[in-house]
């Protein structure tokens, strides 16, 4: 059942094979859920440990979690500004933490110790469904931000600065989630594939540099995703109409 990429080698590499679960008429990728749940569990435990017994002068884990929160707050505040950032910090922060933890879990957790009947456990962000879901959530978020701020007047912003921009702006609404999801998915999958192939060829030490590179890359990917999501939200919140009225 395991397709041998290179016959006679030690390991096999599986792409496009999934552990299917059935939920009504839906076929869902079980391995993605398992790793996501583990990551969610890790994040929840980390958050609970950080806030269980809060001290006035933070130490240990609380200190670390506060540092993480501060980092995320800076990230969001830098783009949304002091007035808006609080409402969007939970969303963007969760995006970042989930993606970051998923990406790193793909490198640092020896998922392959557990063998599934089909497919294999890996970072859940190497499945396009996960990243597409996250990207669509981002789309929803920025539409919600724009519509809740300006009502239907949000769409008049599509004519800004010139009406010629209208088709591009409409296309942009589709390309934004597309590029978000494919960027993350592609980077993580590529990294895992490269490491996987190298592990097949030379199991020891040679994949190390790529794994370390993967740590950097996947951290940066999480940062990019969160930053872009914030940028989109900030764009949707921007007041074009008022600027025009004032000028």
């Amino acid at each position: 059942m395991h397709p041998l990429l290179l016959p006679g080698t030690l390991a096999s590499l599986e792409v496009g094979k999934h552990l299917y679960w059935h939920l009504g008429n839906l076929k869902i990728h079980g391995q993605v859920f398992i790793t996501s749940w583990v990551v969610i569990g890790i994040l929840l435990v980390a958050a609970l440990l950080g806030t269980r017994n809060p001290q006035r002068i933070p130490k240990g884990w609380q200190n670390f979690m506060e540092y993480v929160l501060e980092f995320l707050r800076q990230l969001v505040r830098g783009q949304l500004g002091e007035k808006e950032y609080r409402a969007w910090l939970p969303f963007v922060g969760t995006l970042f933490l989930f993606i970051f933890a998923c990406n790193w879990s793909g490198i640092l957790v020896p998922w392959k110790l557990i063998e599934l009947p089909e497919g294999e456990l890996a970072a859940s962000t190497n499945d396009i469904n996960t990243t597409a879901a996250l990207a669509l959530l981002t789309s929803l978020a920025y539409f919600y931000a724009g519509l809740s701020r300006k009502g239907l007047g949000y769409f008049s912003g599509y004519l800004y600065p010139t009406p010629i921009m209208l088709p591009f702006k409409i296309i942009e609404d589709f390309t934004k989630p597309l590029s978000l999801s494919f960027r993350l998915f592609g980077n993580i999958l590529a990294d895992e594939l490269v490491v996987g192939v190298l592990v097949l060829l030379v199991p020891l030490f040679v994949p190390l540099p790529l794994m370390i590179l993967g740590l950097f890359l996947s951290a940066i990917q999480a940062l990019i995703f969160a930053t872009l999501a914030t940028t989109y939200i900030a764009e949707a919140l921007e007041d074009h109409g008022h600027e025009e009225a004032h000028n």
């Binding site: 030690l10 390991a11 552990l19 299917y20 679960w21 059935h22 079980g30 006035r56 002068i57 933070p58 130490k59 200190n63 670390f64 506060e66 540092y67 490198i107 640092l108 957790v109 020896p110 392959k112 110790l113 557990i114 063998e115 599934l116 009947p117 089909e118 490491v195 592990v199 199991p203 020891l204 030490f205 994949p207 190390l208 794994m211 370390i212 740590l215």
Partner: protein
């Protein structure tokens, strides 16, 4: 490795299995990466977190120091205020007393002035009345004299004058 069925899946051989192959599972590399991460990350993270903690600590201490300073200043100011209020009350009381005294003395003086004025008024009235009376008397006397003189000039003929003189002489002679 015996299959350990944990989760029902659609695969024929349902369940999860443990794969103990060190090379196939990349376990050695993962352990090395984890080790490197912990080795290098630990120092960095520890420094970062210690710095953060210290910053918070000093900030808190500063804030507490400032708070206690401010409290001390507040207390000082409050005691100053209390003293000032006391002084103000005292000054006020003194002022009221002085005002009362001044009022009383002014009243007394005014009464005295009034009495003096009335008296001088009465005196001047009396003087004026006396002066007027004497003036009138003088005038009446002058008028009477003038009339007498005029009558005398009209009626006093040399004969009559002689008669008078004789009569007076006779009276003088009678006495003598």
């Amino acid at each position: 490795m015996a299959p350990v069925p944990l989760l029902a899946t659609e695969a024929a051989e349902a369940g999860l299995r443990f794969n103990g192959d060190l090379l196939q599972t990349n376990l050695i590399n993962i352990v090395i990466v984890l080790g490197l991460l912990i080795y290098f990350g630990r120092g960095f993270l520890t420094r970062l977190l210690t710095d953060r903690r210290q910053t918070i600590e000093t900030t808190l201490k500063d804030a507490e120091q400032r708070q206690s300073d401010a409290l001390a200043r507040l207390q000082e100011a409050q005691s100053k205020l209390a003293r000032a209020q006391e002084t103000a009350a005292q000054i006020r009381q003194e002022g009221e007393q002085a005002a009362e005294q001044l009022r009383a003395s002014l009243l007394k003086q005014a009464e005295a002035d009034l009495a003096r004025l009335e008296e001088s008024l009465a005196a001047s009235l009396r003087a004026e009345a006396g002066r007027t009376t004497s003036q009138i008397q003088q005038q009446v006397a002058a008028l009477a004299l003038a009339q007498v003189e005029m009558q005398l000039r009209h009626r006093l003929t040399p004969d009559l004058q002689r008669q008078f003189t004789d009569r007076a002489l006779a009276r003088l002679g009678g006495v003598g």
